[in-house]
């Protein structure tokens, strides 16, 4: 019989353990394969549809108008590089309030207004139709007509032919967008949109100085592949000194869109690694039980003279067969899961399964589900190889003598591969390394903490003069077993803690964030306004006063750019590298970005000084001191600036130097108009500016009235109803939370598998003891009770530590990420704790009842006696 057939026979003969190992591996690697499918599917979709998403071979954009001079410069590049443009179109996009002038109860919505020309889009298609399903083209659109997106159509409850108003003008709704390749699948946009002719949009007061709008010039080339690159290079040289105007290639556009999903995928990828880790612990225990069952074969083939390496290969082959089966199962299950994922995350427009590169996903899943279990079980397998033949024949007691783990050094190959997986899944060396180090450091720290705790308790009980077993026999039996099998005890606690920790953590953060963004919270603004012009301030104040309300904050906003940090050039030149880590991409975007600046003499309630001193006085230029500037904590960390550092700003061509005197933390969920950079007053006051403002504590009636008044009198001003924004954010937050929660529960299921594996291993190892207790007359019920008590202690320890850890981690995350204190939600998590406890107990009791320990008395004393 060939070894392969023997392996298959073994797997089929010991199908109970084979199936359990297969399930453990599949559970662990399922989330990994789902994420691989998700990430690869999206990236392929974006690559394939990059030109459709950009709508052109090349796009030049600016967060302002593009001047005639700049247009000429662009034309010069085309001429000098002999680039043939086959078509072009211009777009202008801005956010504005849209209302219905002819309705008594007027709904008013912040919307994205897209001004287009007839040729839009140059790639892809926007399908539009009227009520009678007649197709409409942009060339059919009149200057006073708009086409609205489906969601705006529904939110405004408008009909085709009715009027809507924005920028102080009325427009007639000509039709509704049915399908749009350029904006389809913008999962997280905050506002619905409408199309209008670009000239009509330019005729409104929405495009004045200080207004926030984006201009785009789109081009179609006769030879797109060469021309796009040639133009982009020439453009960078020509506009090097002006980062406010950018060129975007189709690939960059798709990258931008993919970034949001990329980040979600990356972080979920790290959770998937936890699932893998837990499933490996479970599979390791189960595999050891399996090995104990085939120990006779190992002894026999060793006695036949098979070398150690061949025996190793023989044993590992069992795992390889199971690994291949589990990766096939994972890929299959991923396919089954995706329709559900698509529906949950509003990705109906995207058929991930059609886009995904199956070979790539399969290869990665297969290699990780083969490599990781093999490396993880390496130390255990080494234990089986080091026994002599005569040792191996002492089957009954050998199994219990083989330890579950092995020398720490033997885990090194696994740890190295796991590290690379962390970096690969996080798509970031920094995040991957931080995760890896935190994970292993915490794991080791907790391991030694629990080891010390168990040893302390053991010493206390052992050295006590009291015989506790006399008073609490079952509790003591449970405790003593936990002391004896410390490794398994600690691994069970850690696995369960890890599973429960993530659930608690997600829950705590979700509850806290939802509480934080709760619109009922005091001082939370009701209305957020931006793009208020300087000359509109008086009028704005009057409108608010007329409604008997008060302005909560009114802050000037000036656009500028940091050029130097302590005389070092701050901006970075764009590099066209094939692979950029998230950090490189982020740094490139971040450093070249214009920043919003403000000036103020006082701090807001949502701000706190964490270091330095906030300067409350106005700046007096005495020629000796520089102006003071305050930086937001994380922003300062990101740009590498600290107290006393000197920043040089370029504000509309004027160079201004300022010294950092304070670092602030901001509670961003306050929805106050907050800025990364706050100047001391009397430095940038004269720069052209717009204003941001908030009004708090508005009833719905006042809110609508103020919005309508402002829209009528100051049509260029955009307003966000904070309540509506919170609703949208909450929806997105809950969508993200759903993804994380799904993986967190997956982790928990994996940890339950560890629990089951350790239980089965423990029962197998202790079968003589348990049999003995049965001989002494311990009833089935009492035996289950004894094991239950033992695992109850273990579970309680796991849950308490999971809750304590999750609270600490939540507070740390709250402090470092959200700049707020995460609310402790012990009572809310009690339900989850109870659920976890019940599920775990059911696993323990079911596992015990169905294990073969009860067969000992029925089957005689064969295991206890030597015939």
């Amino acid at each position: 019989m060939s070894y392969f057939r023997l392996i298959l026979r073994n797997l089929f003969y010991y199908k109970f353990y084979s199936l359990l190992i297969l399930t453990a591996l599949s559970l662990g690697f399922l989330s990994q394969s789902v994420l691989l499918v998700f990430k690869d599917g999206i990236s392929k979709h974006l690559d394939k549809n990059a030109k459709r998403l950009l709508g052109a071979d090349l796009n030049i954009s600016a967060r302002r108008g593009i001047t005639e001079e700049e247009r000429n410069k662009i034309q010069n590049i085309f001429d000098s590089k002999e680039i043939k443009v086959s078509d072009k179109s211009e777009t202008v996009e801005l956010y504005s309030m849209v209302s219905l002038p002819n309705k008594v109860k007027q709904p008013i919505k912040l919307s994205l207004i897209i001004g287009v020309q007839n040729s839009y889009p140059l790639y892809g298609k926007v399908q539009m139709s009227d009520t009678n399903k007649n197709e409409i083209r942009f060339s059919d659109l009149q200057a006073n007509e708009v086409i609205v997106s489906k969601d705006l159509f529904e939110q405004l409850q408008i009909k085709v032919g009715e009027s809507l108003n924005f920028g102080g003008k009325d427009f007639k709704v000509r039709g509704v967008v049915q399908d749009d390749s350029t904006v389809s699948w913008r999962g997280f946009s905050l506002a619905p949109y409408l199309y209008v002719k670009i000239d009509a949009l330019k005729g409104t007061p929405l495009l004045q100085f200080g207004s926030t709008y984006w201009t785009g010039l789109n081009y179609l080339f006769e030879e797109p592949t060469i021309s796009t690159e040639v133009f982009a290079t020439a453009f960078h040289e020509s506009f090097f000194n002006d980062p406010s105007i950018k060129v975007k290639k189709p690939k960059e556009s798709s990258q931008q869109l993919g970034r949001v999903f990329g980040y979600i995928g990356d972080y979920l990828g790290l959770l998937a690694l936890l699932c893998i880790f837990l499933s490996l612990i479970g599979a390791n225990y189960l595999f050891q039980n399996f090995l104990n069952l085939i120990l006779k074969q190992v002894a026999l083939i060793k006695s036949y003279g098979l070398s150690g390496i061949k025996i190793y290969a023989f044993l590992v082959s069992h795992l390889i067969v199971l690994g291949v089966a589990s990766s096939l199962l994972c890929i299959g299950l991923s396919w089954g899961i995706f329709p559900f994922i698509n529906s949950q995350f509003n990705l109906e427009g995207l058929n991930i399964l059609q886009e995904v590169n199956l070979n790539y996903v399969f290869l990665l899943t297969l290699s990780s589900s083969l490599l990781l279990p093999i490396l993880f079980t390496l130390p255990v397998l080494k234990n089986y190889l080091k026994f002599e033949i005569y040792d191996l024949f002492n089957f009954e007691h050998l199994a219990s003598r083989i330890s579950v783990g092995g020398k720490s050094l033997n885990y090194l190959p696994f740890i190295i591969i796991f590290y690379f997986l962390c970096v690969f899944n996080a798509n970031s060396i920094k995040v991957g390394t931080i995760f890896f180090c935190t994970f292993f450091a915490s794991f080791l720290l907790l391991y030694f903490f629990f080891l010390a705790l168990l040893k302390f308790a053991e010493n206390k009980i052992t050295n006590s003069n009291k015989i506790y077993l006399d008073q609490y026999p079952f509790l003591m039996m449970g405790l003593k077993n936990l002391f004896t099998y410390k490794n398994s005890t600690i691994l069970s606690i850690l696995s369960l803690s890890l599973g429960a920790l993530i659930i608690f953590l997600v829950y705590q953060i979700e509850v806290s964030l939802l509480t934080e963004v709760n619109p009922e919270v005091k001082n939370k603004p009701s209305l957020f306004l931006f793009d208020i012009q300087e000359e509109q301030i008086d009028q704005y104040k009057k409108i608010i006063q007329k409604n008997n309300q008060e302005i909560q904050y009114l802050d000037p906003m000036i656009r500028g750019r940091i050029t130097h940090l302590n005389d070092e050039v701050f901006q970075v030149e764009k590099e066209d590298k094939a692979f950029k880590t998230r950090e490189e991409q982020s740094a490139e975007r971040f450093r070249n970005r214009a920043v919003n600046l403000t000036y103020s003499t006082k701090l807001k309630t949502s701000e706190k000084i964490v270091s330095g001193e906030f300067i409350h006085e106005e700046f007096i230029d005495d020629g000796e001191r520089l102006a003071a500037v305050s930086l937001e904590r994380r922003y300062a960390r990101r740009i590498g600036a600290g107290i006393d550092d000197i920043l040089t700003f370029d504000i509309l061509g004027v160079e201004i130097k300022a010294q950092v005197t304070s670092i602030r933390s901001i509670n961003w969920s306050s929805f106050h108009p907050n800025f990364f950079i706050v100047f001391q007053p009397n430095v940038i006051n004269l720069a052209p500016k717009t204003y941001l403002s908030t009004v708090a504590n508005l009833e719905q009636k006042d809110l609508t009235e103020i919005q309508l008044n402002i829209q009528n009198k100051m049509p260029n001003v955009s307003m966000i109803s904070v309540n509506e924004l919170i609703k949208k954010l909450t929806k997105n937050l809950q969508m993200m939370a759903l993804a994380i929660k799904s993986l967190a529960w997956m982790c928990f299921i994996c940890s339950l598998f560890v629990l089951l594996s350790i239980l089965l291993n423990s029962l197998e190892t202790r079968k003589y003891t348990l049999g003995l207790l049965r001989v002494y007359g311990l009833s089935r019920g009492k035996l289950i009770y004894m094991i239950w008590i033992e695992f109850l202690i273990l579970l309680s320890l796991a849950l308490v530590s999971a809750y304590a850890l999750s609270t600490v981690v939540a507070q740390l995350l709250g402090y470092f990420l959200f700049d707020s204190v995460v609310t402790a939600v012990f009572l809310d998590t009690l339900g989850i704790m109870f659920l976890i406890l019940v599920i775990s107990q059911l696993i323990i009791i079911t596992g015990t009842v169905f294990s073969k320990i009860f067969s000992i008395p029925k089957g005689g004393l064969g295991d206890l006696l030597i015939d």
């Binding site: 015989i467 077993l469 004896t484 003995l772 002494y776 007359g777 004393l861 006696l865």
Partner: protein, 224 residues
């Protein structure tokens, strides 16, 4: 206590064929006997016989009588189980001490399971009886083989059972330790007036019993 076995049959399925281990096995050990021995080669069915006699395994056919009470006269399995755990005990060749418990606790645990009064006092008394007063707090791995078997004996004796089955009790011990241990065990059962049934392949040991049997081809032959 008297022990009678009448026409005991026990077979197991080996593949599709039944393997008869005990065939119409009958014997009687009269009341007042302190030590009986059953000698048999490896594979002769000693474990099966011990399992059947100690009530852990039911025979396919036949009757067992413990004292005046026939097994068939018990109204339920539970009633017999109660009788078994209070009257029949086993000392194993491998000692089978519970690794996580110290010596005293190993003796104490079955008494707690049986809910005996003064369990701790009894356990302490028997630890002293087997000469391990100073080793009570030691874990099994800290004890020698002989000491471990003494703990196992104390554990069984402490339960105050009427019939004690001993499966090669000295099989894992050297000659000197084994000899000493057997002397002590014989003394204890005599003092306590119990019936000890030794199952062994050691002819010398078997010869020290008041009554001797040999297990051959599934049947017991009286040697004395």
């Amino acid at each position: 206590m008297r022990l009678i076995a009448k026409d005991i049959n026990k077979s197991f399925m080996q593949g599709e064929n039944p393997l008869e281990v005990l065939k119409n096995l009958s014997f009687e050990i009269e009341g007042g006997t302190n030590v009986a021995s059953i000698i048999g080669k490896s594979g002769s069915g000693k474990s099966t016989l011990l399992s059947v006699l100690s009530g852990i395994m039911s025979p396919d056919k036949g009757e067992l009588v413990f004292g005046d009470r026939a097994k068939s006269s018990f109204s339920s399995d539970q009633e017999f189980e109660n009788f078994r755990k209070n009257n029949l005990g086993i000392i194993f060749q491998q000692f089978h001490l519970i690794e996580s418990l110290n010596a005293l606790e190993n003796v104490l645990l079955p008494l707690k399971i049986l809910k005996k009064d003064d369990a701790l006092k009894t356990a302490n008394k028997w630890m002293d009886q087997v000469g391990l007063s100073e080793r009570k707090k030691h874990l099994p791995y800290q004890l020698s083989g002989g000491e471990q078997q003494r703990v196992a004996i104390a554990r069984t004796m402490a339960m105050n059972l009427n019939i004690i089955f001993a499966d090669e009790p000295t099989g894992n011990l050297d000659e000197e330790t084994g000899g000493q241990l057997i002397d002590d065990l014989f003394k204890l059962v005599k003092n306590e007036n119990k019936l000890l049934i030794l199952v062994t392949h050691d002819k010398d040991l078997a010869s020290r019993a008041n009554k001797r049997f040999s297990l051959e081809q599934g049947q017991l032959k009286v040697l004395q």
